[in-house]
């Protein structure tokens, strides 16, 4: 082939792929109209999938696990609240490979968290962790996960305390787990305990999604604490001036605050019509806000 031939071939391939690229964008637009709107897990029976996987069950578990992460990531990115398939995916994955520990860590966090942060199914999270404990009784961290779900999502302090205590019997467990068991049994739910637990998750997890989730919880706890303090100052302002302020700047002008307060993401707090401190309408924290977290 002559040099002209090579150049012609190169140009043809280049232009051809440019055409393919352009066409693909058009096809993507058409495909969305054809694609099934509902998410699907074709094989939901974990026993069937395990049987079909032959001796490759751990490999298939890895593939299912990848699917779990992508499913959750896509839902979070699209701000979609429907996480119906999280449980079937985790169920199949944990049966295929009962020793795949991230499944229990990740699964318990996101199954139990209330929407929009999770699927709002702490009962299934407990079921998942208990399955993990049956297969991995030496894993003290599963008791930590279990205590977490009972404490935050089921508000069952007795069971949370029992889970932390059971886990603390393992010599490798965190020293503070026994203390936490006693503290929760004695005091119940508190912002201080919540903050400690989420901070520990943030510091110890290697999973970026779990870390991000812990950070968001910490930010929400901080925001809740801020709001309480601002409300106390608003009450103080009312005592001094006989009316509630309508703008946050009035608190600054009165000398009760040095500057207008901002949430952990840097968005200024605003005042509601009732004269209470609220998150800014633009802050991303607002999307994650459900109610005062652990604010009993």
């Amino acid at each position: 082939m002559s040099s002209k031939g090579y150049i012609a071939l190169f140009l043809f391939v280049l232009l051809g792929f440019a055409g393919v690229w352009r066409l693909q964008k058009c096809i993507d637009g058409q495909q969305s109209a054809v694609a099934n709107e509902d998410d699907q897990v074709m094989l939901r029976s974990s026993k069937l999938v395990k049987g079909l996987s032959l001796e490759y069950a751990p490999l298939v578990a890895d593939i299912y696990w990848t699917r779990v992460v992508q499913y959750f990531g896509n839902k979070q990115a699209g701000k979609q609240l429907d996480l119906r398939l999280l449980w079937p995916l985790l169920d199949v994955t944990s049966v295929l490979d009962p020793h795949l520990m991230p499944v229990y860590d990740f699964g318990s966090t996101f199954l139990s968290d209330a929407p929009p942060r999770g699927a709002g199914r702490p009962d299934l999270a407990v079921q998942l962790i208990e399955r993990g404990l049956r297969a991995n009784p030496e894993e003290w961290r599963l008791y930590y996960d279990l205590g977490f779900v009972y404490y935050f999502d089921m508000k069952d302090n007795a069971k949370a305390s029992a889970a932390f205590y059971e886990g603390s019997k393992n010599p490798k467990a965190y020293v503070w787990m026994k203390i936490m068991a006693a503290k929760i049994a004695m005091e119940g739910n508190s912002a201080e305990t919540s903050n400690f637990l989420w901070q520990d998750v943030y510091n110890t997890t290697k999973d970026p999604l779990v870390k991000q989730n812990a950070l968001r919880h910490l930010q929400l706890l901080q925001a809740e604490d801020d709001r309480k303090q601002i409300d106390a100052l608003l009450d103080e302002y009312q005592k001094r001036f006989g009316r509630r302020p309508v703008r946050m700047s009035e608190l600054v002008q009165s000398g009760l605050l040095r500057a207008e307060p901002e949430d952990p993401l840097g968005y200024p707090y605003i005042l509601s019509e009732a004269g209470k401190a609220e998150l800014n309408l633009k802050t991303p924290l607002r999307d994650k806000w459900i109610k005062a977290p652990a604010s009993k």
């Binding site: 082939m1 071939l9 043809f12 051809g16 066409l23 099934n36 992508q70 979070q76 990115a77 970026p208």
Partner: protein
């Protein structure tokens, strides 16, 4: 073009001599067994099962033929030394490649048409009628044919410069990767390194996207396929085949056959 046609017709005849169409017996047995069994083991989804099973069988059988016969089209001629006799005639190398491609595409078309007829017969047995809405199944069959043409082109490309075994592995690898193009493109930040995500998104547009041709789910549920998608997929397959075959022809033209 006459020479290309001659190679194509002879490739088709060779496939018949090699009893490639015997797979139709297997397909017929599967469809008959399914038609009889489906009523016993499923409730209200007989039609869906028949369509998905039939289309899956057409696709799998077609893929096996495309890869294994497609890879052998060039390598067999070299191994048996029949290629020398052919190229001694007034036949250019690119005409040989194009003719072989057209011949196997013709074989696949005949094979797929026969299997589609079998699928409609099985559907008729299950439903006792064929409605106008059922013709949407033909769109899925057409998309399978487009996909098979693309696989044949890829198999021929790889067989032009490597051994048959590697050509089969490469073709299968590209096909499997082409089924995950959507996943590659939608890897979310936070779950994957951004640089790797960008790289995957980039190659997702260059790899042949076999997901484009997957309308089995929609067709099984009787959903119409937009005409624009049919046109775009046709152009996509034609353009991609042209690129792959052009590269295959260039490689084969330069290949030392001594």
């Amino acid at each position: 073009m006459t020479r290309v046609g001659t190679v194509a017709v002879n490739t088709f005849r060779e496939a018949l001599r090699d009893r490639v169409l015997y797979n139709l017996v297997f397909f017929a047995l599967v469809m008959m067994a399914a038609a009889i069994l489906v009523g016993q083991i499923s409730v209200n989804i007989e039609q869906i099962v028949m369509i998905t099973l039939g289309l899956s069988a057409i696709s799998i059988i077609g893929l096996l033929i495309s890869v294994f016969i497609g890879v052998g089209l060039v390598s067999k001629e070299i191994d048996k030394r029949t290629l020398y006799a052919l190229l001694a005639k007034p036949l250019r190398r690119w005409e040989f490649i194009l003719g072989k491609f057209a011949g196997l595409a013709l074989t696949l078309t005949v094979n797929t048409a026969a299997m589609s007829a079998g699928l409609f017969l099985a559907l008729f047995y299950v439903k006792h009628s064929i409605e106008r809405a059922d013709t949407v199944v033909l769109v899925a069959v057409y998309f399978i044919l487009l996909k098979l043409a693309l696989v044949v082109a890829l198999a021929m490309l790889f067989s032009c410069f490597t051994t048959p075994l590697l050509a089969i592995l490469f073709s299968a690898g590209i096909y499997i990767a082409g089924l995950f193009v959507h996943e590659m493109r939608n890897m979310q930040a936070g779950t994957i390194d951004p640089a790797l995500g960008g790289f995957l998104r980039g190659i997702s547009y260059v790899l042949p996207n076999f997901e484009n041709f997957d309308v089995m789910g929609a067709v099984a549920h009787g959903r119409a396929i937009p005409g624009a998608l049919i046109a775009q997929n046709t152009v996509y397959a034609a353009l991609y085949c042209a690129i792959v075959l052009a590269v295959a022809m260039a490689i084969f033209s330069q290949r030392n056959l001594k």
